[in-house]
Structures are given as C-alpha cells and as structure tokens.
Symmetry: C2
Subunit: 179 residues, 2 copies
DNA sequence: ACCTGAACACCGTTCAAGT
DNA sequence: ACCTGAACACCGTTCAAGT
C-alpha cells in the first residue's frame, strides 16, 4: 500500500499525541511508517507543509452557532492533540490561507454588522487570543507546571472581552448582540 | 576578556538582527564569539535560558503612561529585532516569570479598578494579542509577503477592542477611562 | 574558574539510483 | 510513479581534559 499525504499526516498526529512536538521530526515520522525519510519528500514539499496539513486535520470539524461556541470548539480541537496549539501557531505563520475553524470567525463577525475591515482585524485579535491561550495552557502542562483549573474560565473571559470590545467599537455594547 | 552572559546575549541579538531566528543556533553564537560551542554552557544552562535572556534584553526599557502607549512601546521593541516576537513567544512559554514590558500590564489594568483576577486574565489577553500580532507581521515580512501598511492600525484596533471589552466587563464603557 | 576537543545522538533536505 | 541509500550540512548537549 503506497504512502499518501493522509497517512503521513496521521503518523504526524500519532507522534504528536504520544510524544509531543519536540519529537515530531521527519525522520521519526518515516520510522513510524517504516519508510526512509526521503520517501516523505515525494508526497510533501517540506516539514512546514506537513505542519500545515497536520494543523488543518486538527481543526477540521470545528463549528459553532456563535463566536463563543466556535471559540470553545477550536479550543477543544487544539486541546485534543498534544502541543496542538503550537502546531497551529506555526501553520498560520507559514500558510497564507486560513485554517479551517479559524476561517469561520470573520463571517460570524460580519454577521453582526461589523465592516469588512473591522471583521478582519477583530478576527485576528480573536485568533491570536485563542491560539496563544491554548498554547500557554499546553506549554504549562508540558513543563510539568500544574494546570490551572480556571483555564476554561480564563479562556472564555478573553473571548468575551474581545467580543464586547468589538461591539463597543460600534456602540452596541449595551445590548449584548454578540453572544 | 572572559565570556559572560551579557556578551552571549549580545551575540544572539546580533545574529537575530542580521540573519533571523532560523540561524540563531548555539554553534553560530559560539562561532560569532570565536569560542567552542561547549564554552557557552558554562554561562548558560541551555538554549531556552538564552532565549529568555535575549527576550528580556529586547523588552528592557519598554514603558508607557497608559496601556495603548505601553503596547506600542512593546511593539516597537519587538519590531526592532528580526523575529523578536517569535523569541518573546518562546520565552514566555519557557519562563514562569513575566518578561519586562509585559510585566507592566497587570498593574496598569488594576489601576483602572479591575479586580486582581480580571487584571490577570485581561493582561494575558492583551499579551497574546501583542505578541501574536507582531509575530504575524514579522513572519509575513520574513516570507517575502508585502508588509501591510495598515499593520499599526490593525495592532491598535486590537488593543483598543480588548481594553474596551475589559472596561465593558465592569460597565464603564461609556466613559473611556482606560485610554 | 573557564574553556577546548571530541564525541553522542540527533536534525531537514537532496538526489542519483533502483524498481 | 514511488521509494531506497547515501550523502551534505547542520543541530543541542555532555564531559573528560586542559590551563
């Protein structure tokens, strides 16, 4: 059975779950697939592209009716894979096109009357909070620091603050239309 | 003249400025200092510690009377070194104690009447936006993507949105006390 | 105290050659 | 088309040994 981008991505996810990002090397993935490292390069341009594929797989199937819900869905998806947020952070830095899940943020913001510009900038702010907050949680865990039991509250607090602020930009803060 | 943590940190900053984060290796720093790589380990525990020292040096001398000012000061400091935001992102992940500059955020938030909990969480949200936004700008530049001329506006937009949202949490959004 | 020299166990990536 | 084998140019870190 020939190798494929999908199998390679799944191998990456396996290594991530079991050993974390520090152990996610092309050579390790190849070993996991019982293949020479160079074989991977017929299917994938380089490690960066593979990380984008991996982050895309992690964030597939994220959805939410409203933004707080979507944000929690993204947090859950990232949290389901060890160091998932770090991989996503690198993927958004490497890829010009938005990752699934994150791509749903701007339309939801526009749906509440934000201009294209405000929705774009607001989406970035939200995205930064989501990715960095989960990365901080996961890094704390990786370093053996005890996990903050209030992490979900802290996460939601940030999401709500940003959404309120984006509403406030347009003077609609009194009626909580955004959530 | 014996080696020192300061000289090592400065060598790291030189390499960062000239060649960027991808070229910032212990071996490269050692070569720059005309010293064996192993010599560095007498002064520094490992690369992570050196990155924390480097980020600390980058963010030294950040100040601002209010939060939008402080945020711009941090942005300027990070922007002054190639891939500075990436280094800071790794440093905050690695170090339990806050970096200079970022450490000034919570007291400023408390100064406007936020509870300790709200100030702490709000500071994280602000910190995530600041670091991730500058990292995105710098990564876009590194990838040869044309720099967005509106980047400063986008940055300020996010800062203001978060501050308004934090104010809104306490019902003080009508009077713009935070800035 | 401070550094060298040599080694260990890795990396990502390329590319001719095989099938 | 798809993969192997071998190589290139690197990594971070350790540690005995020198001074």
């Amino acid at each position: 059975m020939a190798l494929s981008r999908n199998e390679i991505t799944n191998a990456a996810l396996r290594i991530l779950r079991k050993y974390g990002f520090a152990d996610l090397s092309m050579r390790r993935i190849a070993a996991d697939l019982e293949v020479q490292p160079s074989a991977l390069y017929w299917h994938v341009h380089n490690k960066q592209e593979l990380l984008v594929l991996t982050a895309t797989a992690i964030l597939e199937h994220c959805r939410g009716e409203d933004l707080p819900q979507l944000a929690r869905s993204i947090r859950a998806a990232l949290s389901s894979v060890r160091d998932g947020a770090d991989v996503a952070l690198i993927a958004v830095a490497a890829s010009p096109e938005p990752l699934p899940g994150l791509a749903q943020i701007p339309p939801l913001l526009r749906g509440f009357g934000l201009s294209d510009q405000d929705a774009e900038w607001g989406a970035k702010t939200l995205e930064h909070h989501i990715l960095a907050a989960v990365a901080a949680e996961q890094n704390a865990e990786a370093l053996g620091r005890d996990v903050d039991p209030l992490a979900p509250e802290a996460f939601d607090f940030g999401v709500r603050a940003i959404l309120k602020g984006l509403g406030a930009e347009r003077g609609v803060v009194d009626e909580p239309v955004l959530f």
